[in-house]
């Protein structure tokens, strides 16, 4: 029984891990994309649509990621090409993505798809407690692998070094001959792809449905997670499981009759986000991981 709860918590945290890891990479390059919620919704509706059309949820994964990436490109064109305000452009992306996903999804409401099935890894999945880690689905395993790869690339490779250099000071990076805009473009696209995957996880695994606005704020929590993780991929996983845990805990509390008004329990993930933001920000840790030029636009001028 406890295993089942643990598994539910893990599943709830996967979309957050995916989206937050993508956003982390974008932010490391110096771009703050507040459009995560919109990209996730686009990913969710496209994943559902593709899975429904082809009958193959794996096509849905790809469709979700690509859809997230496509809207991220729109964002990139504005923010990188036209140097528009990143905060406002991100908001525009969320508003646009919410609307467009609703429109695309209107004929899909009430349909059902076959979601991704769990792939039990032999032997490992029988282990007590940690066994649940090996009872996940392909996209969840992929999420874990991506986090590891991102962590490696950011910290141990030249590409990661360049990406971080661009985020820390784009003027020096430019002076060193790195193509700031190109690097940022790729980072934003990666962020979009990952947010799309995160969105795709909802209809492909959590519930085989499409509903308007079904991410219900997960995109924003993913943004908070990046801060929580102080821009370190490994910590994203810890944070996401924490938030997943709080989300599930409020349901468990009800099932066990803990007698707190359900609205207050529903508030917990949001409260937790604020408290965590305060704790992390106040200790000054933010300075360690935060790219110095986060949210600042780079423009080549004559």
């Amino acid at each position: 029984m406890f295993d089942d709860l643990l598994l539910t918590v893990l599943l709830t945290s996967i979309p957050l891990i995916l989206a937050a890891t993508g956003e982390l990479v974008a932010e490391k390059s110096g771009v703050l994309n507040l459009g995560v919620e919109g990209m996730m919704l686009m990913g969710a509706v496209s994943a559902f649509g593709f899975a429904s059309l082809t009958g193959n949820p794996y096509v849905g994964i790809l469709g979700g990621g690509l859809a997230g990436m496509m809207v991220a490109m729109v964002f990139a064109v504005f923010v990188l090409g036209l140097a528009t305000n990143q905060v406002a452009t991100g908001l525009a992306l969320t508003i646009f993505g919410t609307g467009l996903s609703g429109l695309i999804g209107a004929p899909l409401v009430g349909q059902a798809i076959d979601g991704l099935s769990a792939l039990y890894l032999p032997i490992l999945s029988d282990l007590p407690l940690v066994g649940v880690l090996f009872r996940l689905d392909a996209l969840a395993y992929l999420a874990m692998i991506i986090v590891a790869v991102v962590s490696y690339v950011l910290n141990k490779t030249k590409a990661g070094l360049i990406l971080r250099a661009v985020g820390v000071n784009h003027d020096s990076a430019h002076a060193l001959g790195y193509r700031v805009l190109q690097v940022r473009f790729l980072a934003v696209c990666f962020g979009g792809f990952m947010a799309g995957l995160g969105g795709a996880y909802l209809p492909l695994v959590l519930t085989p449905h499409w509903a308007e606005g079904m991410t219900s704020g997960r995109g924003w929590i993913a943004l908070a997670l990046v801060v929580f993780a102080s821009w370190r991929p490994g910590r994203v996983i810890i944070g996401a499981i924490l938030f997943g845990g709080v989300t599930i805990l409020q349901l468990v509390a009800q099932a066990r009759g803990w007698g707190v008004p359900s609205q207050f329990l529903s508030m917990m993930p949001y409260f937790a986000t604020i408290i965590v933001l305060v704790l992390i920000s106040s200790r000054g840790r933010i300075q360690f991981g935060a790219p110095a030029h986060l949210g600042k636009n780079f423009m080549a001028t004559r």
Partner: protein, 369 residues
């Protein structure tokens, strides 16, 4: 390679042309989307933007819809000018409505018109306090006001849900989630226009919206405080040299925008619902962000901007009733409009220049933050 070169001076013509062009381009793109969806684009645009104004009463309703957008948008302009990113106006609106509701429900027998004043004050206090939280956390702990104000919006929605289902529930409502109806003195009545009479649901709150926008414009453009806000937003270092305090400006703009969002919540409830219920706002706080940008951060222009955005909202209903176009199209219009406005902002300030690759290598970098 594309180069953005700052313009020497920005012409007034351009300043006005950009929002207008943004709206036009948005309409054109909207037409393309309609065509792609298989609707007749001309008819769809007509239903969306002209049909909702076909009758005089609908014009009144347009102002009613624009009322909260103008009020909240004016408040957000204060924030955005100071480079403080309050996107939790929705939550501040809810807290304002709760503050006003608390007064109205505490004095069910009140007949004095002071009741409505007390409600307005409490609404502004409620909204301002909710806006104060992210401001204080930002100053004290350097937390990100975007995320905090947004999280507080979710919390506010659950809070009002709880009070109308719990402590404030009308005992005569058989367990349904409604409070008692406000006393008549706590309601905002319709406003007759001289020579015309009642125009749709046009109410006195709309007048308040105009006053708020004008007062906001006056403060920002004619008073020292407004100059301070602008300076801290554009050049915080210069502001510090001038002796202004960043923290106080943050607190001030967050409280102003919170108070105005709260006021909008009170007007929305008193004019249209007359009681608290689980849902009192449907994204006005978020939509007002677009209004602030469409107005190019000028409160006076927020009136026109509020009307334009309200029209898109009304059009969503109209197009659905007459052509069965899903209502979410409104959101797409809003998103595209904001994109276009932001692009226009760049085009106003900078010239776009194409240069060849050989020249590109000689360019220098510049930070725009």
């Amino acid at each position: 390679m594309i180069i953005l070169q700052p313009r020497k001076h920005v012409s007034l013509r351009l300043t006005i042309a950009v929002p207008v062009l943004s709206v036009l381009v948005t309409l054109a793109l909207g037409g393309v989307i309609f065509a792609l969806l298989g609707y007749n684009p001309v008819q769809a645009l007509y239903e969306f933007f002209i049909a909702p104004l076909a009758r005089p009463d609908q014009i009144g309703n347009l102002f009613v819809k624009a009322c909260p957008l103008i009020i909240i948008g004016t408040g957000l302009i204060f924030c955005y000018r100071a480079n403080v990113w309050n996107i939790g106006a929705e939550g501040q609106l809810i807290l304002g409505a709760m503050g006003a509701g608390w007064v109205a429900l505490s004095f069910p027998e009140a007949e004095s018109r002071f009741l409505i004043l007390a409600m307005a004050v409490m609404a502004m206090v409620g909204g301002a306090l909710w806006g104060l939280i992210p401001a204080i956390l930002k100053i004290r702990f350097k937390t990100n006001e975007i995320l905090v104000s947004l999280m507080l919006t979710y919390i506010a929605a659950l809070l009002v849900d709880w009070v109308v289902r719990g402590p404030w529930r009308d005992p005569m409502a058989f367990g349904f989630p409604l409070t008692r109806t406000y006393p008549d003195a706590g309601l905002i009545s319709r406003m007759p226009l001289p020579g015309i009479g009642y125009l749709g649901q046009l109410h006195w709150g709309v007048l308040v919206a105009f006053v708020v926008a004008l007062a906001g414009w006056f403060y920002l453009s004619r008073m020292l405080g407004g100059f301070q806000i602008k300076l801290m937003g554009d050049a915080p270092r210069a502001g510090k040299f001038a002796g202004f305090h960043q923290g106080w400006v943050t607190i001030m703009v967050m409280m102003i925008s919170g108070a105005l969002a709260g006021l909008a919540g009170m007007i929305e409830v008193s004019a249209n619902i007359g009681m608290l219920q689980p849902h009192i706002s449907f994204g006005y706080g978020f939509t007002a962000i677009i209004v602030a940008f469409l107005a190019r951060l000028n409160p006076m222009a927020a009136i026109a901007a509020g009307l334009v955005v309200a029209l898109a909202e009304l059009g969503g209903d109209a197009a659905q009733i007459s052509m069965n176009i899903p209502k979410v199209v409104t959101g797409i219009f809003k998103g595209i409009l904001l994109f276009m406005l932001l692009a226009g902002e760049t085009l106003t300030r900078y010239q776009i220049i194409w240069i060849g690759r050989s020249q590109a290598s000689t360019t220098t970098a510049k930070t725009k933050g």
